[in-house]
Symmetry: C2
Subunit: 138 residues, 2 copies
DNA sequence: GCAATAATGCAATTCCATTGCATACATTTT
DNA sequence: AAAATGTATGCAATGGAATTGCATTATTGC
């Protein structure tokens, strides 16, 4: 089991107290979170710092960025063996219209999508919207 | 062949000069357009009017709204036989990272996506990103 | 034509993302 | 260990797009 420090160092991210806290926060959340979610969790910290920290994580491929159609960017830790940047490894996301949570369905890979001649597919964003298990069960 | 007036009336949208113009503009564009695109095409008109006109079109199901991940909402006329609101009829969208255009691939339907037990799928947003035929051909 | 209803235009606001700059911290070098 | 360098953080401000309130104008039904 890798420590968080090791994860960060292996990606050439300097270890700071703030970054460790934010990493832990992301790891604790099974759902994708917004910047505001993070901001609420760390009220003493400045929004800019949180913003840049997460941005660094995204650039260094330890967090992936999700656009679930709400207009607000969400973030989630990548899986250990995740290679988000590679098309074939992309999983899909589920956005619950009821509780407004977005969940990574990491075990659900995106099926191969055919595009017309001349089009080159580099990346796929697939968001399923509806009702999540928690909300539909009630 | 239905006239634009008939299309609008059939959806209970009051026919106005502005709405006819915006409808025509959307019909002329094969690609999905942003509010700013529309604004540039009708510089005399106010942004709010354009915004509300398109919003009305979306609500009445003659335009569908696309979230291609650029952070800016795009709009495109629905096909005549389109029923966007129904999951099985959803087509996919292609966003070109080069020319920044978003195209409706209406003939490409979204494959059936499986979601885990307890999840109810109501809607699917699928955007393929890469290089469009025009850009890859050069 | 008149009253009711809806569309339009202007101004202002909200919300989130993003940047500039000064300061604090950490790492490396001597 | 101190100085020098580079990076992270915090504060303030900006930008861009979506959205709303309200007054005015147009359209519809009677």
């Amino acid at each position: 089991m890798e420590t968080i420090e090791q994860v960060l160092e292996s990606k050439n991210i300097r270890v700071t107290a703030m970054r460790l806290l934010i990493y832990k926060f992301l790891a604790e959340n099974q759902v994708a979170v917004t910047l505001s979610d993070i901001e609420n969790a760390f009220e003493k910290a400045d929004r800019t710092t949180l913003y840049r920290t997460v941005k660094t994580f995204v650039e260094k491929d330890i967090v992936h960025q999700i656009d679930d159609g709400t207009g607000i960017v969400k973030y989630a830790l990548c899986e250990q063996d995740c290679s988000c940047e590679i098309e074939t490894d992309l999983h899909l996301h589920f956005h619950c219209n009821n509780c407004n949570e977005t969940i990574c369905l990491t075990e659900h890979k995106i099926p191969k999508i055919k595009v017309p001649n001349g089009f080159v597919s580099e990346n796929i964003n697939l968001v399923v919207k509806g009702m999540c298990d928690k909300c539909s069960g009630q």
